[in-house]
Symmetry: C2
Subunit: 203 residues, 2 copies
DNA sequence: ACGAGCGTAGCACCACCGTGCTATAAAGGG
DNA sequence: CCCTTTATAGCACGGTGGTGCTACGCTCGT
């Protein structure tokens, strides 16, 4: 049966298993044994595709980061595209809403990403990915704010560095609360908070 | 030498050691051995004061929560006190600023608290404390907003549930970013973001 | 003064971790 | 057809985790 296998697919399947385990038991719960079990493989098979346990985590975190970035990228394309007739306010709202865990799929992703990015504080091998993703988020928000300012959609004496921080902190904070206290942080509340903040920004 | 020891002091000293270890190595790094080492005790001595490793973590998290709550409580007393001549806007700002990691001491506390509260998601024994502290924060913010509305300091058609979420998410998000990406999130930026948000709330 | 009780310390056990290493079976190329 | 390569699987080792249990010494009540 071997040799027909595409290594990339196997790696992806394994990292999916890692994501499920982390969601259930945290990063420290994702041992080679639990991951192999979740993936329906033997521990030796998992090790065949990764140099070490650390590599499994690094690959999975990067994979998850790419997945999130790809999802958000879709909205960026629409917003920064050439179509002049779109409702830009709605497009911006959609873009930022994509950061929020508004459905079970994104909620799971947010849970796992939070686990990884907090774990990265004490795991040097995960830091790079965490920093990259954070820079991506800050850069994206800054660009959107700059563009909106240039367009006259925002007051032009805003301190964009502070506004970027406020917005990214809001998104991170909403996500954090939705992940840790979902019973008090329903999707409709998340959306209401985002809408209110964007509206307040315009005045 | 024994018997002169006050058990509560020993427990407090041990939980201080736990806090230092968690700051350095995360919750999963706080094993009985590392904690005992950090406290300058033998592993058996630590176990004399706690029923289990789990108890050590529970006690320490609760202790840290109380410490944070006590610090914030000081500002609450001042704000809700009877003195009519205080600058209420400044008092509110001071109160909320107390949630932020503006100095090394509070930064350490924020790091450790974040570690505990995220760990609580997968550790049932820590959940209660996490939920309590979160309810405390939400309740406090709601009360302040209600009082400000009653006083006429805020527009009275605000949806306080949404505003409470916005504010608590902002504080949590700012803290999260300061903890995970301190190089991009300096204390003066944190304060600027808070001030801007409070001002925006009033208009 | 002496025994009870508490603080301190550490051994021993089992469970689980990552990893080096080996074994087996299934392809694909010569 | 055989032999190299690759996928899969698993053993065994060293290290480390929490914990049950025991040992020892100091202090204080009687």
């Amino acid at each position: 049966m071997p040799k027909i296998v595409v290594p990339e697919e196997r790696r992806a399947a394994i990292s999916d298993a890692v994501i499920r385990v982390v969601r259930r038991a945290g990063v420290e719960g994702a041992t080679l044994r639990t991951v192999a079990d979740e993936a329906g493989l033997a521990i030796g098979s998992v090790r065949h595709y990764f140099g070490s346990h650390e590599d499994v985590l690094i690959f999975t975190m990067r994979e998850l980061g790419l997945r999130i970035g790809r999802r958000i990228g879709t909205h960026v394309d629409r917003l920064l595209g050439t179509d002049p007739d779109i409702d830009r306010r709605a497009a911006v709202e959609d873009l930022f809403a994509e950061f929020l865990p508004l459905d079970p799929i994104r909620w799971d992703e947010a849970v796992v990403w939070l686990a990884f990015t907090t774990a990265a504080r004490t795991r040097p091998s995960l830091r790079d990915t965490a920093v990259e993703q954070h820079a991506f988020m800050r850069g994206l928000i800054t660009r959107v704010l700059q563009e909106a300012t240039a367009r006259g959609a925002l007051p032009d004496r805003l301190d964009l560095e502070v506004e970027c921080l406020r917005l990214s902190a809001l998104l991170d904070g909403l996500t954090l609360q939705a992940v840790l206290h979902p019973e008090n942080t329903t999707p409709d509340l998340l959306l209401a908070a985002l809408r209110r903040s964007l509206t307040a920004l315009q005045s």
